[in-house]
Assembly symmetry: C2
Homo-oligomer: 108 residues x 2
DNA sequence: GCCATCTATATCACCCAGTGATATAGTATG
DNA sequence: CATACTATATCACTGGGTGATATAGATGGC
């Protein structure tokens, strides 16, 4: 009620996506089209290869320690991502995707 | 080498934080001052109570399902956060903090 | 009123990502 | 060469995250 409200647009996008999700589950639109909606609303998240993750970090010239701090995770975890011993998923993957698309600044 | 480079500022901030971290570990600055640096660089992440998480979601008028999709996590997980059965940590917590500070848009 | 739909809550068992510690090996910088 | 800093490598542990399913409210249309 008091702040500026850039809320409207994203709200609508979400409505659209919800609707599309429903249509998909009912079977009225196929998987391919559903993906388009996902992409449209920037809700799709793709896997991140170890090299990609490292590249993402190196691009900003920061150490694994700082990178871990930014992501609020442990150094050990970042290492395993980069070596390929463990693969990020869920919110971790989402964050990495955001950083890839929007730059490290989104996490600051 | 080719793109625009808004890189410089965040780079410096990170340097500052790294330095502060070192100073803290050595014992030259105390915990309170360290926290200031954390806050300055927006690297601190605070816990999120179940109510807070729910409030965050309700504020945008979205369902748990959509919220989960945005965070790239499962509905089940969001539920447990809101009930208090599990508490988000790591990248999950970071994302929630970002959304709290910058709004849901950061995740889109 | 009743039925259909969406949303939320609840509970289950599984397991792997994430953690913390520690030890070693590179690689700069003085 | 020595002293940092950074990266790689294992290790054992555990709890956060997952997926499925079942129930209960809430909403809305006929």
């Amino acid at each position: 009620m008091s702040m500026t409200k850039p809320k409207q647009r994203s709200r609508i996008l979400k409505e659209v996506h919800e609707m599309a999700t429903d249509l998909y589950e009912i079977g009225l639109i196929d998987k391919r089209r559903m993906r388009e909606y996902d992409a449209l609303c920037h809700l799709d998240v793709h896997e991140m290869s170890p090299r990609k993750i490292r590249a993402l970090r190196k691009k900003e010239n920061i150490s694994q320690a700082v990178f871990a701090a930014i992501l609020n995770t442990s150094v050990s975890t970042v290492q395993k991502w980069e070596i390929g011993e463990k693969k990020p998923g869920g919110a971790s993957l989402k964050l990495l995707n955001l950083i890839e698309r929007k730059g490290m600044e989104v996490a600051l």
